[in-house]
């Protein structure tokens, strides 16, 4: 009986011990930022590093759960969108405090919104909230409630608050007083940033223990990816949040348990033709690029499967359209990736009078089809993609010249001089909502890349996209919005103003010392549940 009791006692100790390891790991988590954050003001965060600091330190009213892609309450217990999508009312949690002990109230939300919408601040986060002319009205209501009214309806309004970190109106520390899991304790410019556990953080685990479990986060500034990789292998850092396919395979070969492929991400790579009517291109080339048949033929002549397999080593998927399949709600599942079919491509070209003569494709006036594609120098993945397209297009008699330019020169050509023929670039997408793409799809927008700032839509299909994008943006009903946006995706698939090439996978590498890690496709892939991560016993003790 005694033996049984001893074994039982030991068992209970082991169970309690293991749960306490998970619950109270302490220690220091380490990873690298690829550049120094440009600001600690959460409203001004635009670069990756500043956004990382904002994510780790900022408290938000509601958060998009990166795993389920659903909106979850944070500082706000509940919320309600009314007035046709113009007003949102939050019920805030009681008794919360900023990292310096200052009490959190509805006044802080009102102050943050006032700062966010201040035109003098030029907040990139605030831009998403600017709908129509007029001012934003914020009312502090009794019982810890706050109502914000915008001058025009904003579709998907609630999800935008995922990016708005609340600042204190009364704290002497201003933006350094935070409501998130950590606060900035030390900043050694160019070297590292040390975040420490916020003692006033409000979240608790299911058994009532305060979160986060890890005491501090050490963020090293490290631009060199080789060095970052070596540091991971040596155990000096705990994870690489986003890793290239080449390095990912290296991790797989060394320690497969460290490598995490969360599947296809929101990011895409695409090529587009210059369709600007005032560009300095010869008229016969303008005619090629504005032809739907020509664009679709080029699309069909590109072997996306090979591109995903060779350039991204299988960690990418042929793209379908503007929305990645990773975007569970908005992706139009009726659409399929364009097939690689050079015969069909030649048939389409023949419809426009192109013909293959001695291995050279010529238009109806006899011009040999030759054009250039520009991409940014130094991005080896894009250079490889362009080189693969170059070989693919020789199959239909087209000569493609690949030109790599330094980034400022490339931007100058695609936004000001329009002295280019085709461009290959990628789109890093953080936002699930199509509203974030309004600036790309509206024909009047200056970032409507293939033909920016049109006074009136140049084509009927662009006019249709304008109409549908505006309709989805002003409709509060998600189902109706999805219908409109599905139609936009169909038009983009048929017309191919952007020839979408691949969607890259979300790849990361995580040390076995970090527990509770569930890498996802949305940013930040690894540390989206930062307050629930724990470190193994030994690592936690040694740091």
């Amino acid at each position: 009986m005694k033996k049984v009791l001893v074994v039982l006692g030991l068992f209970i100790l082991v169970v309690l011990g293991s749960s306490s390891v998970l619950a109270q790991s302490g220690g220091e988590l380490r990873f690298c930022l690829r550049s120094e954050p440009k600001t600690f003001n959460p409203l001004l965060a635009a670069d990756d590093s500043s956004e990382t600091i904002r994510y780790l330190t900022g408290g938000v009213l509601m958060r998009v759960n990166r795993l389920t892609q659903e909106l979850e309450p944070e500082l706000a217990e509940s919320w309600k969108v009314t007035n046709g999508g113009k007003t949102i009312t939050f019920q805030l949690h009681d008794g919360l405090h900023f990292s310096d002990g200052t009490a959190f109230s509805a006044d802080d939300v009102a102050f943050t919104i006032q700062q966010l919408m201040d035109p003098a601040l030029h907040s990139p986060t605030g831009d998403s909230f600017r709908a129509g002319e007029g001012t934003v009205e914020t009312r502090v209501l009794p019982k810890n409630r706050v109502a914000i009214t915008f001058p025009a309806p904003i579709a998907g309004l609630d999800r935008l608050f995922d990016q708005v970190a609340i600042m204190s109106v009364t704290s002497p520390q201003r933006e350094m007083a935070v409501l998130g899991a950590y606060y900035v304790a030390e900043n050694k410019a160019g070297s590292y940033i040390l975040l420490k556990r916020n003692p006033y953080y409000w979240r608790k685990d299911p058994v009532g223990r305060p979160l986060p479990y890890i005491d501090s986060v050490h963020l090293d500034i490290q631009q060199n990816r080789d060095v970052e990789m070596l540091r991971l292998v040596r155990g000096q850092i705990d994870f690489i949040n986003s890793i290239d396919a080449e390095y990912f395979d290296k991790v797989v070969s060394q320690d497969p348990a460290m490598a995490h492929d969360a599947g296809v991400s929101l990011d895409s790579e695409q090529i587009w033709f210059n369709q600007v009517s005032s560009s300095p291109l010869p008229s016969y080339k303008k005619a090629w690029f504005t032809s739907t048949n020509f664009r679709r033929a080029i699309s069909e002549a590109i072997n996306r499967e090979d591109m995903a397999r060779i350039v991204f080593r299988g960690h990418a998927r042929p793209a379908v359209g503007p929305v990645s399949p990773a975007n569970k709600f908005w992706f139009n599942s009726k659409l399929q990736s364009h097939p690689f079919d050079q015969k069909s491509a030649l048939q389409r070209l023949a419809q426009d009078g192109f013909r293959l003569q001695g291995g050279v494709l010529r238009d109806h006036d006899g011009h040999a089809v030759e054009f250039s594609v520009i991409t940014n120098a130094g991005n080896k993945y894009r250079e490889r993609m362009a080189t693969m397209i170059q070989q693919d297009l020789t199959g239909i008699g087209i000569k493609l010249n690949v030109v790599t330019l330094d980034f400022p020169s490339l931007i100058e050509r695609i936004t000001r001089t329009f002295d280019y023929e085709a461009c290959l670039l990628g789109l890093v997408n953080d936002d699930l909502d199509p509203n974030s793409e309004m600036n790309v799809w509206l024909s009047s927008s200056d970032t409507h890349q293939w033909n920016p700032s049109e006074k009136t839509p140049a084509t009927a299909w662009e006019a249709e996209i304008d109409k549908l994008m505006r309709a989805q943006a002003s409709n509060p009903n998600p189902k109706k919005r999805k219908e409109y946006y599905d139609k936009v995706q169909e038009i983009a698939w048929q017309q191919e103003p952007f020839i979408y090439l691949v969607n890259k996978n979300a790849l990361s590498a995580v040390s076995a010392a970090v527990h509770n890690v569930h890498p996802v496709v949305l940013r930040p892939q690894v540390y989206w549940n930062m307050d629930e991560l724990t470190l193994g016993n030994e690592v936690a003790r040694n740091r």
Partner: protein
């Protein structure tokens, strides 16, 4: 060190011959992508394996060496001629002309080369074939690389202009172009040769640097610059040592160029 010089000459001649005969020696086109064999290790079919797009690395080394070895001396010749013309006339004329030319040369030397090259490269027309693009790149290098050599030649020409034999030539009625062409230029030849041989590896290195920045020779044409880009990622190279072959060849060729110079031709 005579044997080393001979070995260097033999090596350079062998490499040059192999590159010139690349069309016959190379087992595949430098541009052809064997898409089923990306990053393949060395085999009988691909002696140095394949690159990340499945292109035969041995063929690319041959063609890349041809591009760099043909065009770097051409650029060096252009820059040496420009240096001889500008530096020689300035040194020979002396006075205000020399001061003006040397001020201009100093200004040229103070230009940030790399940024200038990147800017000029960005201004080039987009629709040029890779071969024309590489010729333009090396022509640019030649046009921009004369200033250092011009300073050396100017100093040498100035010393020669004040020498006794030039004084004698002047006294015997030689003047102007005849004095320059018959008396000065032959005596500047050693320093011109030295400047030429020094410039060749410098231009090879500059093109390699531009290639590493992605601004060198356009795809699919290979050059040493584009071949050396494969070595950007140290962690990838450690598992594939055959990727180091272009680097080793590059080092040996540049060293051979230096060995080719006699003691007298080497700069002080």
């Amino acid at each position: 060190m005579k044997w080393a010089r001979i070995a260097a000459i033999v090596f350079l001649l062998t490499v040059s011959a192999a590159c010139l005969l690349a069309d016959f020696v190379a087992p595949a086109s430098y541009a052809h992508q064997f898409r089923d064999l990306p990053d393949a290790p060395p085999s009988r079919q691909h002696l140095l394996g394949t690159d990340d797009l499945g292109r035969d690395r041995f063929s690319r080394v041959l063609y890349g060496t041809r591009v760099s070895l043909l065009l770097a001396p051409a650029a060096a010749l252009l820059s040496s001629l420009l240096a001889a013309f500008i530096g020689g006339i300035a040194g020979f004329a002396g006075g205000w002309l020399e001061r003006c030319v040397m001020a201009g040369t100093d200004l040229f030397l103070s230009l940030p080369w790399l940024f200038l090259l990147i800017t000029v490269r960005a201004l080039m027309p987009l629709n040029v074939s890779p071969i024309i693009s590489v010729v333009i790149t090396f022509a640019l290098l030649g046009c921009l690389g004369w200033a250092g050599a011009a300073r050396v030649i100017c100093a040498d020409a100035r010393a020669l202009a004040r020498s006794d034999f030039i004084l004698l030539a002047r006294a015997s009625g030689s003047s102007g172009f005849r004095l320059l062409w018959r008396h000065l230029v032959p005596n500047l030849k050693p320093v011109l040769y030295a400047q030429f041989w020094i410039s060749v590896p410098v231009f090879i290195l500059t093109e390699a640097n531009l290639g590493i920045l992605g601004l060198g020779v356009a795809e699919p044409l290979p050059s040493w610059g584009s071949l050396l880009r494969e070595l950007e990622s140290f962690s990838t190279v450690t598992g594939q040592p055959w990727q180091l072959v272009p680097l080793i060849l590059f080092i040996v060729v540049v060293s051979s160029f230096h060995l080719v110079l006699t003691k007298e031709e080497l700069p002080a």
